[in-house]
């Protein structure tokens, strides 16, 4: 493969082993210039390991990592033009906020005065100028987070690595910081690689997402692709809420599949490559693409009984025990209450899928 100078990061067949344990099983991915890229997965999936390999804190057992066309996997961390925002911020406790932000600039050979001037500008960018003379311990978690961000951005890295930087913040602050990060990324034009286990955060912020599990990449795509066209069981289950049905495939044609449930009930849904006739697979359907009625209205109607209604603010989640399957979640948005009905627990109803809502999954 020729090296591409315009791709920010090119990970080629990267493997990481700790003794007998393989943390990363041959990962290859390309991160484009000026992209907000997210590594998403549950803890222990290898996402942080991959990030630390790019930063230089872990060596690469096999494979290469290229930064704008240059091989960097053998360089020590202090020679890589990438900076990291650490999960616990790792601010230097004995230095002032200003000196923390100026540190990287000074290390890159800027004079103390220049470094401090630029650090001051960075603090302005994250709206912390008035705290310049304080110590990290005198700041709140959210403020420390912004200092860590300013410190990592100050030396103008080619790529900024963010290791679950928002996980220690409370929900409200986290939402605000998500937006701020997104804005900062657009303003600075620096490529961001963001690690998180929070799928909602990943969907909100990213240009593209790599979903990882057990040291392997499960799917790579835009948030919409990942959410609407999950490739396998893991992705469908991990991203958002979903309902799964075991089905047998009867016929596949033009991306559509006809299949039936254990009891013989026939269904039509979207298929994915690699699933053929006769396969026993899972079909996934998102709860918000289901609606209830007292009589069947579509071909894909399933009989069931309402078990419980759960009010979750913007929506109502209804748990329905299917006659021919497991329990389904049906989500009705409160704004849809005019045209969609809510049934009392115990009601015998039909759960209907919107056209094209069902989707077959690889295991």
């Amino acid at each position: 493969m020729p090296s591409n100078k315009t791709d920010a990061i090119d990970v080629r067949n990267a493997v990481k082993r700790y003794g007998d344990f393989t943390a990363l099983k041959r990962i290859s991915l390309t991160i484009k210039d000026n992209e907000f890229f997210t590594l998403l997965g549950p803890s222990g999936c290898g996402k942080t390991t991959l990030l630390r390999m790019i930063a230089g804190f872990e060596d690469v057992t096999e494979g290469e990592i290229l930064l704008y066309g240059d091989e960097i996997e053998k360089l020590p961390p202090h020679q890589r033009p990438v900076n990291t925002v650490f999960q616990n911020y790792a601010l230097f406790p004995h230095m002032t906020i200003l000196d923390n932000v100026a540190f990287g600039l000074e290390m890159r050979g800027k004079s103390k005065a220049d470094a401090r001037k630029r650090a001051g500008e960075m603090l302005e960018l994250v709206q912390l100028s008035q705290f310049a003379a304080r110590k990290p311990s005198q700041l709140s978690g959210g403020q420390q987070q912004r200092v860590a961000l300013a410190r990592a951005l100050a030396p103008q890295p080619k790529v900024l690595l963010l290791d679950e930087p928002l996980s220690a913040l409370d929900l409200k602050l986290r939402k605000a910081m998500q937006l701020e990060l997104k804005h900062l990324q657009r303003e600075t034009g620096i490529t961001f690689i963001f690690v998180t286990h929070d799928q909602e955060e990943a969907l909100t912020m990213s240009d593209r997402i790599a979903v990882m599990s057990a040291g392997e990449m499960q799917q790579l795509g835009t948030p919409t692709e990942i959410y609407e066209q999950p490739r396998n069981m893991f992705v469908a289950d991990f991203i958002g809420e979903t309902n799964l049905l075991e089905v047998s495939v009867d016929q596949v044609m033009n991306g559509r599949a006809t299949c039936h449930l254990g009891g013989g009930h026939a269904l039509t849904c979207n298929s994915v490559d690699g699933i053929g006739e006769g396969a026993k697979v899972h079909m996934s359907v998102r709860p918000e693409r289901l609606f209830m009625s007292d009589a069947p209205v579509e071909a894909e109607s399933l009989k069931g009984r309402v078990a419980e209604n759960i009010f979750v603010g913007t929506d109502i989640s209804t748990l329905v025990d299917l006659a021919e399957g497991p329990q389904f979640i049906v989500r009705t948005s409160n704004s849809d209450r005019g045209n969609k009905r809510i049934f009392e627990p115990g009601s015998e109803i039909f759960v209907n899928m919107e056209l094209g809502a069902g989707r077959l999954l690889m295991d």
């Binding site: 804190f57 020590p76 202090h78 990438v82 650490f86 790792a90 540190f103 110590k135 990592a152």
Partner: protein
């Protein structure tokens, strides 16, 4: 009713406070009897008149301090000149203790750092290994050291055997031998507090520094050292203070030329030939010096902390 309940509660709190005061009594008693008592005795003795066969005569006198600082000639009838003998001994003690402290810092810091960066389950083993030699009596260790270092000892034999040197290096009876002895005597007092500090150190700070383009050396200097400084200061004090008053290492390894204040004091009390008030005065001067040095270092520490914040 409400008022009654409230006063009842506060009375209980008072009782609790009182009980806590009484519980501290044993500690205060121990401190009073074993710390304050001896110091007061020393202070009083230093202002008494000496008895020629050891001991004191209960007559107030400044003779001890006068002898320490002033030279009035052989018969005590000349005009007083500044006495350099004891000041020189003092100065040598400070210098030797300082050198020993520096030596234990240079060896102790990397050792402590090494131990603190081992896997958690083997750290206690390393700490235990460091302390093993100290189960042996200090006198025996110091004498053994003399045997190791002497002209015909194993160290010189080894160096000659490897062809590095032709004739033995004279180490025993030099300043350096004393420094080595002191360093060896008090090394764990450096290693343990530094180890404790490095163990508490958050190593992600080192990663952050490396991430921000700092080399290993710069990271050590700018990030690690400031973070573990309290441990280093504690280690330095714990080595410096006992080194100042030590007499075993100077006596056994330094010979007569390298006399230190500890030996001077020891001589005043040993056997019948001594001079108790003079020994007490020298002790008081040593104590004062050490206190001044400690206060100075504490003030420096406070100053740098303040300057940083």
């Amino acid at each position: 009713m409400a008022a009654g309940a409230a006063s009842g509660g506060s009375a209980r709190a008072d009782t609790y406070k009182d009980a806590r005061g009484w519980l501290l009594l044993p500690s205060w008693a121990v401190l009073g009897i074993f710390v304050l008592g001896p110091v007061c005795m020393m202070l009083i003795y230093s202002f008494l008149t000496k008895e020629f066969r050891g001991g004191v005569i209960w007559e107030p006198s400044l003779a001890a301090y006068d002898q320490f600082f002033f030279d009035r000639g052989l018969f005590g009838d000349e005009p007083p000149k500044l006495e350099w003998t004891y000041i020189t001994i003092f100065w040598r003690s400070i210098w030797q203790a300082g050198a020993a402290t520096l030596l234990s810092l240079l060896i102790g810091f990397p050792t402590a750092y090494f131990i603190a960066t081992r896997p958690e389950n083997v750290r206690p083993v390393w700490v235990f290994l460091i302390t093993i030699p100290y189960w042996v009596n200090l006198l025996i260790r110091t004498v053994s050291m003399k045997f190791l270092l002497r002209d015909q000892g194993p160290l010189n034999d080894f160096l000659i055997g490897t062809g590095l040197i032709d004739s033995p290096i004279h180490i025993v009876n030099t300043n350096f031998a004393v420094q080595l002895g002191l360093f060896y005597s008090y090394l764990p007092f450096m290693v343990l507090p530094v180890y404790a500090a490095v163990e508490r150190y958050n190593f992600s700070l080192s990663e952050a520094a490396a991430d921000l383009y700092a080399s290993k050396w710069t990271t050590l200097r700018r990030i690690v050292l400031p973070a573990v400084k309290p441990g280093v200061v504690a280690g330095c004090i714990l080595v410096f203070v006992p080194s100042m008053g030590s007499f075993l290492a100077p006596d056994l390894l330094g010979g007569a030329k390298n006399f230190m204040i500890g030996s001077l004091i020891e001589e005043q009390f040993k056997g019948n030939a001594g001079n108790w008030p003079f020994g007490a005065a020298a002790s008081m001067i040593l104590l004062t010096m050490v206190l001044i040095i400690l206060m100075f270092s504490a003030r420096q520490q406070a100053k740098t902390d303040k300057a940083g914040g």
